[in-house]
């Protein structure tokens, strides 16, 4: 069985940044396994600009952003395999992958970095009633068909869900000659970035219908229209508010789900809120030597944050290998969110191994104006960060200093306070 220091599952933005970082931190024996036919992951179909503002201080398209990392991976000579689908990861880090050239191959890794990304919530999981006709696409599938394969999915569309991909696709379809009738959002606020609402909807006169949902999809063979209804505070449709929108396409942008089926085969413990692994401050999962980063850990809105997080995973995986693959010692400090903070990543901090600065990322559960993110350590206020606005669609982060944490701290709680 072939042996590697680090095997990275996924060659998207997280996998690429993790690989580069591991290499920079002294590990040469790396293998990236990518299931698609090219590196770059979902960035390849994100042909709009706006990527890399934080990392590169310029506006890049998705493929351009990916290219910067791919170029470095190639220059560094980091080995990778394309069209290689991982079928299983065992708790002792044996990775089974399948390719047309090699067949089914098992390799052994000292450390594994999970970077598989996420998938879109499909129609079935939303429980949308109606026939099972053609013309209902998740926004990302439509994006791939249009931007990678070069096909138009429809001429008149309604979009359910105001996640970023849905907003981007509203503009994309409009630019390609389609009419986007409306974007309906179940919640009273958008799940996407503010800048996407302005640039993708407002600039094209596409209405954003908050507190609305699809209550019927019409058409037996292909979509012929959808009925949109207003929803009340309980998110249930209000009878009498039904309105019919003729269209041939319904795009769904109703949430992304970290794709952790492989993590489960390895016995990695998952956080029920994020859908990703529970990790320590080094992004190590419950299985020693298996690290997680990017959208498979929790769904990000900016790729810059994915790259940063993945670089940390790469570094920590490298250190794990260099330290003789020893698991971290000492009890961890539990982290959790409450009162408006839905989750935190990491979920624990092991002080003995922690860096000087620990970045904690989180999402809030509602729109908050002029509030503060407050950090408590065992009930004592540790930090207070004022925020003009916080929204579920935009990830928040707080940096904790290791020296500010007492060695006997048991729990850190993050809250939204007035």
């Amino acid at each position: 069985m072939k042996q590697y220091n680090i095997v990275i599952i996924g060659g998207g933005p997280a996998g690429l940044a993790a690989a580069l970082s591991a290499k920079e931190h002294g590990i040469d024996d790396i293998l990236i396994l990518e299931r698609d036919e090219r590196l770059g992951g979902i960035l390849n179909q994100c042909i709009h600009n706006g990527f890399g503002l934080h990392t590169f201080k310029e506006e890049l398209t998705g493929p351009e952003y990916a290219e910067r990392y791919i170029d470095k991976v190639l220059a560094a000579g980091i080995p990778y395999k394309l069209n290689a689908t991982v079928a299983d990861i065992s708790p002792d880090k044996e990775v089974l992958y399948v390719t047309a050239e090699e067949g089914a191959v098992t390799v052994k890794a000292d450390a594994v970095i999970l970077a598989m990304g996420c998938r879109e919530r499909p129609r079935g999981a939303l429980g949308l009633p109606g026939f099972r006709q053609a013309g209902v696409y998740t926004a990302g599938t439509a994006q791939r068909l249009m931007n990678i394969e070069g096909y138009m999915v429809g001429k008149e569309a309604v979009i359910l869900g105001s996640g970023d991909i849905g907003l981007i696709m509203a503009r994309r379809m409009t630019l390609a000659g389609a009419t986007v009738k409306a974007v309906a959002e179940l919640m009273p606020y958008s799940g996407g970035l503010k800048r996407n609402i302005v640039q993708c909807l407002d600039d094209f006169g596409i209405p954003l219908l908050l507190s609305h949902t699809v209550t019927r999809i019409h058409g037996k063979e292909r979509v012929t229209g959808v009925t949109l209804s207003q929803v009340g505070a309980d998110r249930k449709p209000i009878p009498g508010t039904e309105e019919f929108y003729p269209c041939d396409t319904l795009l769904l942008s109703c949430g992304l789900l970290p794709e952790n089926e492989l993590s489960k085969t390895a016995g990695v413990k998952l956080d029920p809120v994020t859908g990703g692994a529970e990790v320590t401050d080094t992004l190590e999962t419950s299985v020693p030597g298996i690290f997680s980063c990017g959208n498979v850990l929790h769904v990000h809105d900016l790729v810059d944050n994915v790259s940063k997080e993945a670089a940390l995973a790469g570094q920590k995986a490298a250190e794990y290998v260099q330290n003789g693959c020893k698991a971290a010692e000492g009890a961890g400090i539990r982290l959790r969110g409450e009162s408006g903070v839905r989750y935190t990543v990491p979920q624990s901090i092991v002080l003995a191994q922690a860096d000087e600065k620990i970045v904690v990322r989180m999402r809030v559960g509602d729109v908050f104006r002029d509030k503060a993110l407050v950090v408590y350590a065992d009930g004592k206020e540790l930090k207070r960060q004022k925020k003009r606005i916080m929204a579920p669609g935009e990830m928040e982060e707080v940096t904790l200093l290791r020296e500010s944490l007492a060695p006997d701290t048991k729990e850190i709680v993050l809250r939204v306070e007035g």
Binding site: R35, T85, T99, G103, A104, G124, Q133, L145, Y151, K220
Partner: protein, 479 residues
């Protein structure tokens, strides 16, 4: 030469089973189907349960065909290689007052010839199925019941029939049947065909075809049933198929694993007018979900991956209508086949084929091939077997559907077999590409490409199922 011995109208499970059993005889057989593929109507959306046979009234065709079919499916799974599991069924009793009803069903089962049944007390029941409601005080255990993939079963019958010489024509709708000397003229939207015998296996439409040739009118009320399907991750919540006591409209809302290991909940039963109305409704889904919780309280509905609705061909007289009407010799009904129709399919197929063969003294073929090879399921092979296969045919090493681990090779098989997939649904039904938790989000573009390449048609002509369900909408093809 459009002259046949038997024309079977409808390529659902009954039509295909009949074709398969008829193909044992030296007969020229044609199956006509108005949709683009087999298993596209009544057969496609049902519970996939192989019922033991205690529900139907003794002496009815339903009772006979059910009990016989249940045993046949178990044996056929070995020769026709379709997904089947003999998991047994439990019919729950929640109320002391209802115990006599449970006993009545047990007695009925004995009369129908159902083997090995047993009435379990609460303790035995709990030991067998810990997830069941605490309110259950007893249950009827029927160990011969099972679960089958309705597509897998229908495709297996169709492929085996085709291998033994039966022909299939799809997207061919029968418009008129006329009795003539020595047989029938069957007019379709693609021309007129001649045949000695007709088999009416048209599901919810079987009353229309019957009434076109017979004065002894029958009537079908389409009875819609809705289902919710959950991720394979939670498919082991129960092992057996769990039924409540039946009510006036049918067997009630069941909770069951499927033959592929998903968890299925449904159906409700709504009598409707429209024979094409397979629309799911919010009210219907809410209804089945809450009713299922009475049998199994902790169903993880947040693991739902899809929902669907199907129509049962509910006949007014309550029994299957099988064989020739008194006033139309040579026309063989398989009409009003509602539950337990899927279970009964092989028994009905055998029964009708033997009637037809006897009528024309058809001889059995010496070279009938009773066995059909199932689809290669690459992910189920050992690593060594998988590598060997991929070395021979590299397309088995290209994973297209990541959720179900389906390779390009399996998709190609689904298209190249006879009768092969002609649509995305056709591929999905045969090899489960797109059947998983992402519901084809990632693999749709790739599956479309493979289908276009294999069929030699442009991407713009790729359909989800029948014409009109084209996936793309573009004038000059490209963006």
């Amino acid at each position: 030469m459009d002259q046949y011995d038997v024309i079977i109208i409808g390529a659902g499970v009954i039509g295909c089973a009949t074709a398969r059993y008829l193909s044992r005889y030296d007969l020229r057989i044609l199956v006509l189907e108005k949709e683009e593929d087999v298993c596209s109507g009544t057969s496609k959306a049902n519970s996939g349960i192989v019922h033991a046979g205690f529900d139907a009234l003794p002496g009815t065709m339903k009772a006979k065909m059910n009990v016989k079919g249940c045993g046949m499916i178990r044996e056929l799974a070995e020769t026709l290689h379709f997904p089947y599991r003999n998991n047994g069924s439990l019919l729950l009793c929640m109320d002391d007052e209802k115990l006599p009803e449970l006993q009545k069903l047990y007695d009925r089962g004995i009369e129908n010839g159902v083997p090995e049944m047993k009435i379990l007390n609460a303790e035995e029941l709990r030991k067998m199925e810990p997830a069941i409601s605490e309110n259950a005080i007893a249950a009827l255990w029927a160990p011969t019941a099972g679960i089958v993939c309705p597509f897998g079963l229908t495709v297996a019958f169709a492929e085996n029939a085709a291998e033994n010489g039966a022909e299939f024509r799809f997207l061919t709708a029968v418009e008129k049947i006329e009795k003539q000397d020595g047989g029938f003229a069957v007019t379709t939207d693609k021309g007129t065909l001649h045949t000695r015998f007709v088999v009416n296996a048209t599901g919810v439409h079987s009353d229309e075809f019957h009434n076109a040739v017979s004065a002894k009118a029958i009537h079908i009320t389409p009875r819609r049933g809705e289902y919710v399907l959950m991720d394979r991750e939670v498919g082991n919540l129960v092992n057996a198929t769990i039924f409540p006591l039946p009510d006036r409209l049918g067997k009630g809302v069941l909770v069951s694993p499927t033959a592929h290991g998903n968890l299925l909940v449904g159906p409700n039963a709504q009598d409707i007018d429209d024979k094409a109305d397979t629309e799911t409704t919010q009210a219907g889904m809410d209804d089945i979900k809450s009713r299922a919780l009475k049998s199994v309280p902790n169903i993880p509905y947040n693991k739902t991956i899809t929902s669907f609705a199907g129509l049962r061909a509910h006949g007014d007289q309550g029994d299957f209508v099988l064989g020739e009407p008194e006033d139309c010799e040579g026309f063989f009904d398989a009409a009003c086949v509602e539950s337990p129709g899927l279970t009964s399919a092989p028994a009905i197929g055998e029964y009708l084929s033997d009637l037809i063969a006897a009528r024309c003294d058809a001889a059995k073929k010496a070279d009938f091939k009773a066995e059909r090879k199932g689809f290669t399921e690459v992910a189920k092979l050992s690593r060594e077997e998988r590598s060997r296969l991929i070395a021979e045919r590299p397309e088995y090493g290209v994973i297209v559907c990541r959720c179900e681990n389906i390779s390009e090779g399996e998709i190609i098989d689904a298209i190249r077999r006879t009768p092969g997939a002609r649509s995305l649904d056709g591929i999905k039904r045969r090899v489960r590409q797109g059947m998983g938790r992402c519901q084809a989000g990632f693999c749709t573009p790739k599956a479309m490409e493979i289908l276009a390449r294999e069929l030699g048609i442009p991407m713009t002509e790729i359909t989800k199922n029948r014409p009109g369900s084209e996936m793309l909408r573009c004038d000059d093809e490209t963006v």
